[in-house]
């Protein structure tokens, strides 16, 4: 029963959503069911946020209680979660510090702490890309050499300084890169991967709808 009902729900929901795109929504019942199902998904998604809050609290609380290695970070996480969440949940009518509008505690923390920290994390990519490229691009074989040379010209082409350099060699060089590398080789490879992945996704969806694939429910 624990598997049968979810499999039936998956089958019916999948079938309704797949079939609905072939019928006009304004003229068929199935067309009206589809947006209804989509609203349900949004509502269920909202409720599950509670599960996340419980999990993050339990994991970090247990780590602090047992003074596990690095427990200070867990404590910091707990404090951050509650300091950020609680004032934003309280109604703004009580105080301008509550809610998530401009001037609220949430907004202040978001603008002055969260936003720069996120940008910093993303900025670290520049360091990691340089280090990974340095390690990975070695002319060990013919294929690796082609990859290395292509990456070099594309990197040059994507910045004004490099593009100026390429144009000094031949004014048409950047256009060749755009035509033959980006809109040629790159596009062909991307299409191959995208088509393959799309078929894989469709096949997986079909296996799920028909109940062949049930491992996502913990069943073999």
């Amino acid at each position: 029963m624990r598997t049968t009902i979810p499999v039936i729900i998956a089958f019916l929901s999948g079938l309704v959503l797949a079939v609905s795109i072939f019928f006009r929504p304004e003229e068929t019942v199935i067309g009206r069911i589809e947006p209804e199902l989509l609203v349900w998904v949004t509502i269920i998604g909202g409720f599950t946020l509670f599960l996340g809050a419980v999990s993050i609290t339990r994991v970090n609380y247990n780590a602090v209680r047992r003074l596990k290695k690095g427990w200070v970070y867990n404590l910091l996480t707990l404090v951050s979660v509650f300091v950020m969440a609680l004032p934003s949940l309280l109604p703004a009518s009580w105080s301008p510090l509550f809610g998530d509008a401009e001037g609220s505690i949430y907004d202040w923390l978001f603008q002055r702490l969260d936003k720069p920290m996120m940008a910093t994390m993303f900025g670290m990519l520049a360091f990691y890309i340089a280090s990974a490229a340095y390690r990975a691009f070695r002319a060990r074989s013919a294929e690796a050499t082609i990859l290395l040379l292509t990456a070099t010209v594309v990197m040059l082409w994507r910045v004004p300084m490099g593009e100026a350099l390429l144009r000094s060699i031949n004014p048409d060089f950047p256009d060749w890169i755009n035509t033959y590398v980006m809109n040629g080789v790159n596009m062909a490879v991307q299409r191959g991967i995208i088509i393959g992945a799309a078929l894989g996704a469709a096949s997986m969806s079909l296996r799920i709808i028909l109940g062949i694939e049930r491992t996502y429910m913990g069943k073999q």
């Binding site: 049968t4 499999v7 996340g52 088509i195 078929l199 062949i212 913990g218």
Partner: protein, 302 residues
């Protein structure tokens, strides 16, 4: 429990009494809904004929998958090429076991409604069976609560089925953060503190792919990644030991299961791929000869 595909397959084979029931279910959806078109609807076009081409593709694709699944059930041998990245999963868990360290599994950074995440959760089920078998610690940080619930269910089932309930802990799968970079920094911290021996990244990844893989590389872990996002593949290839590309991610669960029924789905998918390659070739020839307009229109979807 017998799944619906099996029921359908058996029903068709034995022409049992199940046929009317199954067909009725299908007919209920396929026919009764459009039948509710209002009487004053003179166009009679509840069905979108302009999307007939897509319907044909859906039907052919479904038929191919079902047919191969049926053949697989009948015991026909199906060849599936080796995928080194998937074979390496067991090796990576073995290494972690020897070193007495954990295995870190990240099921991507997308919601559960993303098919890549579902594929990742399926692979997690297989990986959890291996870690349960060897009693290797498993860490699964997730970004979305729904993925948390699904992940916990899958891992718990795997441990239960192997009789390792005592080794299971609800916090194996844990919610870390909803924001991409907060999630990344938390997982990077986890990698540097816990030093897992194997990192498995499966599912949808974005800008964090390299941040995670480089940190794992610096921490000295064996790393296996799999994603259908072409833009992230170069980063994983640069920083990981094995990378599953595109459709290999979706094949991984079936491949790991080694079940004929699951492998049948893969063969059906390959069959369709051959058809698509042929259709593309025909299109290229026709368009090159400047007589391909009609052919092009066949594939346009409104």
């Amino acid at each position: 429990m017998m799944n619906l595909a099996e029921s359908l397959s058996i029903a068709l084979k034995k022409k049992s009494k199940k046929i009317p029931v199954l067909i009725n279910v299908l007919l209920f959806f396929l026919l009764s809904f459009p039948g509710s078109v209002t009487a004053d609807d003179t166009t009679g076009s509840a069905f979108r004929y302009e999307r007939l081409n897509a319907l044909v593709i859906v039907v052919v694709f479904s038929a191919a998958v079902l047919l191969y699944t049926r053949w697989a059930r009948q015991g026909r041998p199906l060849f599936v090429r080796k995928i080194p990245g998937i074979d390496a999963v067991e090796e990576a868990v073995g290494r972690a076991t020897e070193m007495g360290k954990a295995v870190l599994f990240i099921p991507g950074l997308q919601e559960l409604d993303d098919i890549e995440t579902i594929a990742a959760i399926s692979i997690l089920g297989r990986v959890a069976r291996i870690t349960a078998q060897y009693e290797t610690p498993l860490l699964v940080p997730v970004r979305y609560p729904l993925v948390l619930a699904a992940g916990q269910e899958v891992v718990e089932q795997a441990y239960n089925e192997l009789g390792k309930q005592d080794a299971y802990n609800k916090d194996i799968v844990r919610y870390v953060a909803g924001e991409q970079m907060a999630f990344t920094s938390a997982v990077n911290g986890l990698m540097m503190r816990e030093r897992p021996a194997a990192n498995i990244f499966m599912g949808a990844f974005f800008a964090e792919s390299l941040l995670l893989a480089e940190t794992g590389n610096a921490a000295g872990a064996i790393q296996i990644a799999g994603t259908a996002r072409p833009e992230q593949l170069p980063f994983f290839i640069a920083a990981c030991d094995y990378t599953l590309m595109g459709e290999e991610l979706y094949a991984a669960s079936s491949y790991l299961s080694k079940e004929p029924l699951m492998l049948g789905g893969l063969k059906g998918q390959d069959f369709i791929k051959i058809i698509i390659v042929l259709l593309i070739l025909v299109g290229v020839i026709l368009v090159s000869l400047d007589i391909g307009d009609w052919y092009y229109k066949l594939f346009e979807m409104a």
